[in-house]
Symmetry: C2
Subunit: 231 residues, 2 copies
């Protein structure tokens, strides 16, 4: 009855369910699905040319991950973000990301540090081109996301990484560096470099507090330009 396994393969295969899962998540991120919009099983099944079963399973997973909310016998819809949600996310990031940086600074290796440094430098260079070509903001936002992500992974705490992933990714939908003027953008980039300096200097406390300042600066800007009331 209780069978053990020899080797858990855990290889990455693309089943219909995972495909549907990724499609829905992408559509939420790029705004194809609006907040509070219902996602109907039959519609999506027809469109993606699969049966309702993998669609149902993907929807269940997305509900568990916090992307959708399910109302029994009525359907699953995209969650809408309120100011309370924004406050909760900031409170959590303000505690979890400094923690991640502190742990990372104790466990960092040279290779990872070099990669992070390259990203930070690239972002600084791009920042000086923002006024000439506003489209580089997207590239900066993408690099910024990757920078934070890699820093968190370097903490060596897988649960922490998973939590922050779900917390952060949902908060950056359609909200990148659009509000940052050049002064704030430059400061943000300097923070990245200073975090790495603190790690190189072997000072977890320095790294932790710069990260906290980095987030508080972002928070101040956020509440200066609040989101439109979605729900």
């Amino acid at each position: 009855m209780a069978d053990e396994v020899s080797t858990p393969p855990s290889q990455v295969v693309q089943t219909a369910t995972t495909k549907v899962h990724d499609v829905i998540k992408q559509r939420i991120l790029d705004g194809h699905y609006q907040p509070h919009e219902y996602i109907r099983e039959a519609n999506l099944a027809r469109e993606l040319e699969v049966s309702r079963t993998p669609v149902r399973e993907a929807l269940r997973e997305l509900v568990s991950e916090g992307w959708l909310e399910a109302i029994p016998h009525h359907g699953s819809r995209v969650v809408a973000w309120t100011e309370k949600d924004a406050r909760e996310v900031f409170e959590l990031r303000l505690v979890l990301e400094p923690m991640a940086v502190r742990l990372a600074s104790e466990r960092m290796n040279e290779e990872c540090l070099a990669h992070l440094g390259a990203m930070a430098t690239r972002m600084e260079q791009l920042t000086e081109r923002v006024e000439a070509d506003p489209s580089v903001r997207n590239e900066i936002a993408s690099l910024n996301h990757e920078f934070h992500r890699e820093l968190i992974l370097a903490s060596g705490n897988q649960r922490l990484a998973t939590m922050l992933e779900s917390v952060v990714r949902t908060s950056v939908i359609r909200r990148n560096f659009g509000n940052y003027d050049l002064t704030n953008l430059r400061r943000s980039m300097r923070h990245h470099q200073e975090i790495l300096e603190a790690i190189r200097a072997g000072s977890p406390a320095w790294a932790e507090h710069i990260m906290r300042a980095h987030l508080l600066a972002a928070q101040a800007l956020h509440f200066r330009f609040p989101v439109a009331p979605d729900g």
Copy 2:
């Protein structure tokens, strides 16, 4: 295509999927399912007299929540806990629970505080009966869990509560106050009372630091009596 809804009922109904979900979770908690044991869809469906569909959906949800791990085309099995998992959970609790207490102390109302006080007092009374009747340890453990849970909910941060729920509940499986001698048990109970005193005194910092000490004491005991190597 994009339909809005008037009132999201969100009422609690007991579908077959939720029933299976709860049964599996309970069986993991009480040890009926061993770590690394595979849960077969067909077996459970026969036993609970439902079809494989709700079983499959429940398994998917439990995988997303971290109770099970899925190997494609091979099945879902109970996660096994290593010392690395224990370290990760302690690191997270050590940051999240003090945060929760700090927030709770800023938003606490009288009714909740009274209820917490009653639980803390009850636990202290039970502690003095442990030597005469060891079975009260279970009741203390249960009250302790409820105490922490209510304190966390009082933080007013729903995401924080959800995260801590998933982090803490998985770590207390078959590991309650069995290792605590009377001295440590008494100290633990005094910590509870002191947390409430700090909240009443209007000192979030005091509350936060006592909670941290409370967890570090528990951590010291844990690594004094490590778990058997499960996996």
